[in-house]
Symmetry: C2
């Protein structure tokens, strides 16, 4: 386990653009290595200056191509870009890996575009935390913009999208139930709607449906999410999308919304971090994998009351306090 | 707060078929009332004798109708039935509520079919725990069969489906990408595949796709999930589905798989219960909503290191031990 000097050295190197150091730091964090907290703590003072853009929407909406186009847009404007694709489902589909290959081909020669994909499944809620940690390392590496792409539209994706300062929800015409099929939670997190593949039939209908849902929304905020039409494959509409993002940035700045959003983000994250830390302690004192498995067998057989067990485990954990290093 | 006598009385009443007592107990558990643990603890000795069948699959697959048909099937065989529909998305869609109305019309006169829907969103992972708790109360009320229906195919649904002893994955022909659109996690939890709306075009193709995916599966178990075709709207194939469930029950019994599955279920559940209990303590000692919000604002402004904060909060929590009631 590296000591604090070597962690400081690693963070120094990744801040100076050393891609191998960056990759190594991300892996340490992603695998929850023992030095992970110290590493994140060392990255923290150098983070917080990156605009984090979340891109979410149904599979097949062309999100990866859109991310590539946005990356190009920002690189042309001389802003450094980090990309993070998160697939909470499974490594089986291969989507994330394929996406990586395409991107590597296109951006391999550009040291200021760093792309990483995460397919770790992890425990419920764990993925959002892991994504947030990896994002922090990318921020510390000095990226101006971070594009966080999630595959799918479930609860995990909503949780991950909440890491972002700005969330784009991507729709396409002619996908079954269209807008109706989006979970309400996704509608709520949208700052900008993107109708991609806008050369397809039904594009007006999708826009009308979004407007209809917006008019039904119970919460009215000062920002009405604009709807931008794009054809990511040929780059059409990407400039307009960039302009919509800039407009939102300016509005958030004027209204002091960015600080507010980030505070809300940290509220959830501190909570999740504490939860993880407490469980790490519980694992060491009375609930390692074998013990948990034994208790579970007893409970399943009706020989142990799980509520009494949990009360007892908690009590033990607090008794063990003195032996904590 | 009721004392242990009144909790025992409530459990007694719900065990004797008092539907108001059952509804009250479920509400106490669902709302995480202070007496919730004591109530669940009192229900525990009377649970564990119910066959829990999970029904999951894409929206629009006809799961609710299928659940109604299965309920009829078991009621005709004189088995008491509980139903639980869980929609982790949002109360906006109204799906769960509509489902309730249809069921109420059909089964209102039958005291041995009790149906409940949960649309609580809750925190990530919290819904699965809440569902498990409500299921336990329904079990204690003496139901022979419990049908747990989840709306959608995300991570939450997979987690909820894992409560079940037997999981049915419902597909329909002609729904976009069909089988491909299912997350790999859903494929893995399937014990029986149901192709509903089997009078539609493309039914053979869906079956072929399932078989193809099964042949690709890396883990081979002794049980190959059968594929049953149904038309839930007119009841076709429901008998065959019932037979497939019976066959699986017998196989699980012979191979002692039920105890194994339930032990795995309790392993996840004890873990989640301990997590929840530790966080309840954390809320009381140093991390109530206001304190969390203040810390989050500090962290978002870069004035507090969240990793040091979490270490400190954990330390405080263990120091406070002596003041714990």
């Amino acid at each position: 386990m590296p000591d604090s000097t070597s962690i400081a050295a690693l963070v120094n190197r990744l801040r100076q653009g050393d891609l191998r150091a960056l990759a190594r730091a991300i892996s340490l964090v992603e695998n929850e290595a023992p030095e992970s907290s110290a590493l994140l703590s060392a990255c923290f003072p150098h983070a917080g200056r990156t605009l984090r853009i979340g891109i979410t929407g149904a599979p097949g909406a062309g999100k990866s191509t859109l991310v590539d186009r946005l990356a190009q847009l920002y690189r042309h404007a001389n802003r450094t870009v980090g990309g993070l694709a998160v697939d909470p489902t499974s490594p089986f589909t291969g989507g994330a890996i394929l996406g990586d290959r395409i991107r590597l081909r296109e951006h391999a020669s550009d040291p200021d575009f760093y792309f990483r994909s995460m397919a770790t499944r992890g425990s419920l809620g764990g993925l959002a935390l892991a994504t947030a940690d990896v994002a922090l390392v990318l921020e510390a590496s000095g990226k101006d913009v971070l594009l966080i792409e999630t595959v799918g539209v479930g609860q995990d994706e909503i949780e991950i999208a909440r890491l972002a300062d700005i969330t784009l929800v991507v729709l396409v015409p002619g996908m079954g139930d269209d807008v109706q099929s989006l979970k309400a939670g996704v509608m709520e997190i949208a700052d900008i709607f993107v109708i991609n593949k806008a050369d397809r039939d039904g594009v007006d209908r999708v826009e009308q449906e979004i407007r209809a849902l917006q008019s039904l929304a119970t919460t009215h905020t000062a920002w009405t999410p604009p709807i931008v039409r794009t054809i990511a494959t040929n780059g059409e509409g990407i400039d307009k999308l960039g302009a919509a993002i800039s407009e939102l940035e300016q509005w958030m700045d004027k209204e002091n919304r960015l600080a507010e959003r980030r505070a809300r983000h940290w509220q959830r994250r501190i909570d999740a971090m504490l939860r993880a830390e407490l469980m790490r302690r519980a694992r060491r004192h009375g609930l390692n994998e074998t013990q948990l498995s034994d208790h579970a067998t007893q409970v399943a057989a009706g020989q142990e009351d799980p509520w009494q067990l949990v009360a007892q485990l908690t009590e033990n954990l607090f008794q063990e306090k003195t032996s904590e290093p």
